[in-house]
């Protein structure tokens, strides 16, 4: 009897001690298990959502595929975890996922208090308002006294509060956890206005019973740089994730696409040669295969390609490049040199 108690005690203590063992560096852990676990949005069309065949589609999803292509040379070596706005940071902190690509806004407090490293922005967004046209309101400045549908667990709640406060307007929030339930509530007229990131408003409007009854107002009330994030503690992994995003932007700038990347391997331009690993060095510095950037462009595409494929003007969302155009076209997408 006593012996068995002792045994149980020893087992429990040894189990607990196993938890103390420091988990390996994030990159080593990812390489060891053979795939990268990415946290994505489960239900935002154009950013992260499985299609009718169960294949994950979206700008954030393709960004995560680029990480897999860089690390493993195979864009399919990524597994997706759909996360709600509330779960996402905890999932990353706890190590349930390796990287978060779930339209998360980079902010100072998230970077510091949550212990996260955001990398290069893969979509510049801003919060806006959608309203039923029949209310005849043209500007967000006329929203005094309105009831506003808000999705919780985002910067959205605070932005809306700030906006109404700074304009000295009264308002009444209705905060519902699920995106689809919130949209249903809004379309039924429970709220006058729906507020969210402009890209999400476009997605919500696309699934409205009658999209032409709703208008997105001109005011953009916040800056929402949406960026992938990793945990503090593994700088090498952070660099890889960062430069995987930058590689897609750089490729667009250099005019390298998934279609012409093989031809570009024969390019005489040393910048292109360095970028695609013909002149070696970049891969070694990152601790990756020299073909890492080539693999991203070949298997996933450059930034312009993934943008147009998922959210561009020819998709249901029909979003213009706007801030997300290359800096050479008046946008904010800019990559440091790859050397």
């Amino acid at each position: 009897m006593r012996l068995s108690r002792l045994t149980v005690l020893v087992i429990i203590l040894s189990l607990l001690a196993a938890g103390v063992a420091f988990a390996g560096k994030d990159l080593d852990a990812v390489k060891k298990k053979g795939f990268i676990q990415a946290g994505v949005n489960g239900g935002v069309f154009g950013f992260g959502m499985p299609d009718s065949k169960g294949v994950w589609k979206g700008l954030d999803v393709d960004t995560a595929r680029a990480f897999a292509a860089a690390i493993f040379g195979d864009a399919s070596k990524v597994k997706f975890t759909p996360l709600t706005a509330q779960q996402r940071f905890t999932a990353l902190q706890s190590g349930e996922i390796d990287v978060l690509t779930r339209n998360a806004t980079r902010t100072l407090s998230r970077e510091t208090q949550l212990g996260l490293n955001f990398v290069t922005v893969n979509y510049y967004d801003g919060q806006g308002f959608m309203i039923a046209k029949k209310l005849g309101v043209k500007s967000a400045k006329d929203l005094d006294g309105a009831t506003v549908c808000v999705l919780p667990g985002t910067t959205t709640e605070q932005n809306a509060a700030d906006y109404f406060r700074s304009n000295n307007m009264k308002w009444n929030p209705v905060v519902i956890e699920s995106t689809s339930e919130l949209a249903k509530t809004f379309f039924a007229g429970r709220c006058d206005v729906l507020t969210s990131d402009a890209s999400q408003l476009a997605g919500t409007r696309a699934v409205a019973p009658n999209p032409n009854d709703y208008a997105i107002m001109p005011e953009i009330i916040s800056k929402e740089p949406l960026a992938p994030a990793v945990r503090h503690g593994d700088d090498q992994f952070r660099d890889i994730v960062d430069f995987a995003v930058l590689a897609m932007i750089n490729a667009e700038e250099m005019g390298i696409t998934s279609k012409n990347v093989d031809a570009k391997l024969k390019s005489k331009d040393p910048m292109v040669q360095r970028f695609l690993g013909v002149i070696e060095g970049n891969g070694k510095s990152l601790g990756l295969d020299e073909k890492w950037a080539y693999n991203i462009i070949k298997q996933v595409g450059n930034y312009g390609e993934i943008f147009e494929r998922n959210v561009g003007v020819n998709t249901t969302l029909g979003i213009e490049r706007g801030l997300n155009a290359l800096w050479t076209n008046g946008g904010l997408m800019y990559s440091p040199p790859f050397k």
């Binding site: 938890g19 510091t112 919780p152 699920s178 919130l182 249903k184 039924a188 007229g189 429970r190 006058d192």
Partner: protein, 399 residues
């Protein structure tokens, strides 16, 4: 562990002659202490491990965030609140909202549950079967679905504010809720509340006096009816003396929404209805079981000695039935309180919803979840304490 009978007898006869390690009482203490130490060690390990992990990932810890500005609005609040207030204020608003829906919910549930439970026992076939049908249907549909159902009814079937239904003067019904006029705030309202409290106190004294008189003389004093009458007359007198102010705060459609009056939001109503209809089905079964636990013979005997039906219920059935009803009723009250945390699904700003937003803005999930656990634990424990006290009061006094 095998028991050696000889040791037990030794202990009884010669306690001092037994070595400590063979004394079951002392051994028990050692085991208790060891178990306690083990629990303490595990707790300390979990705590320190969490702390060091959080530190390693440079995640902020502690409750310092409570004093920072919350920066988000809350849809409905019992107390004055704005985005400029602190997180602590926001959490208080959430806790009060949880208390509001739970408290009203519990009272309505007990009333509805009792009615359905009694109806279930009715000798009228139709009423009894209707009650049985209600219980079966409500018990077997998940409460979350019921909440969505009620909420959808509110926002889908009621018109927009501009086409609001206006059944009576000053009462509006639309998809923003039920909005009605209330008397404009006046100094006499406080006096009226005190008059009501005074009426209750007088009633309590009258009841004591009446019981004593009944024990001495056998005459019955209708204390309940007199108290009710006092409860109405005293506040009314105060109102008349203040010059009977009749000014009303009537809601008015201004811009998007109604301003003025009192608004009962669709979220609150849907949550309340969902919880009450769901929990009342369980309470009905508890009430039925309680009433059936009193044998029929007692009712017949009570009627035979000439008690009126009201007195039979009040003096014979209830005191015995309540002993069976109270313990499971307590657990249903706790269930209702805990289920109110489903509020976030339909947009009611309860404690969990507000804490969720707080966790998201501050990133301090552990502190937030600890607060949720603490709040629900204290709600549950205080309900339990009260109900246990009531149960003891109602329990059979054995001599």
């Amino acid at each position: 562990m095998k028991k050696d009978p000889s040791i037990a007898t030794d202990t009884e006869l010669l306690p001092s002659a037994v070595p400590a390690w063979r004394d079951p009482a002392k051994r028990a203490i050692v085991f208790q202490v060891a178990a306690l130490l083990l629990v303490a060690a595990v707790s300390y390990y979990l705590y320190s491990n969490t702390q060091s992990n959080l530190e390693r990932q440079s995640i902020a810890t502690g409750f310092g965030f409570l004093d920072m500005e919350a920066g988000f609005e809350i849809g409905e609040s019992v107390v004055e609140y704005s985005a400029a207030d602190s997180y602590a204020d926001a959490l208080l608003v959430g806790a009060l909202n949880t208390i509001k829906v739970s408290f009203i919910g519990v009272i309505l549930t007990i009333i509805l549950g009792t009615v359905v439970g009694v109806a279930r026992l009715s000798s009228n076939w139709l009423i009894s079967k209707l009650a049985a049908g209600y219980i079966e249907v409500m018990q077997n549909i998940p409460v979350l679905l019921q909440l969505f159902f009620w909420y959808a009814i509110f926002y889908e079937s009621f018109p927009s504010p501009r086409q609001a239904l206006n059944p009576f003067e000053g009462v509006f019904l639309c998809n923003r809720g039920l909005i009605f006029g209330v008397p404009e705030s006046h100094a006499v309202h406080g006096t009226m509340a005190w008059a009501f409290v005074a009426a209750l106190a007088i009633g309590w004294l009258l009841n004591r006096w009446g019981r004593r008189r009944q024990a001495e003389t056998g005459q019955i004093f209708p204390a309940v009816r007199v108290t009710l009458a006092l409860g109405i007359v005293l506040p009314l007198l105060a109102w008349v003396f203040a010059g009977s102010p009749t000014a009303m705060d009537i809601p008015e459609l201004r811009g998007f929404n109604f301003t003025g009056g009192v608004t009962v939001s669709p979220e609150f109503s849907a949550l309340l209805l969902g919880l009450v209809f769901y929990t009342a089905a369980f309470v009905a079964e508890i009430v039925r079981a309680g009433i059936q636990s009193v044998s029929r013979g007692q009712v017949e005997a009570a009627m035979a000695v000439g008690l009126r039906p009201g007195q039979v219920l009040h003096l014979v059935i209830l005191p015995q039935a309540l002993r069976v009803i109270i313990p499971p009723l307590t657990s249903q009250m706790l269930n209702l309180t805990k289920n109110s945390s489903l509020a976030i699904a339909i947009g009611y700003a309860d404690f969990v919803a507000v804490t969720n937003t707080t966790i998201n803005q501050t990133g301090q999930a552990i502190e937030g979840v600890a607060l949720i656990m603490l709040i629900y634990l204290s709600f549950s424990l205080s309900t339990s304490l009260f109900m246990n006290w009531y149960n003891k009061k109602m329990a059979l006094v054995e001599r």
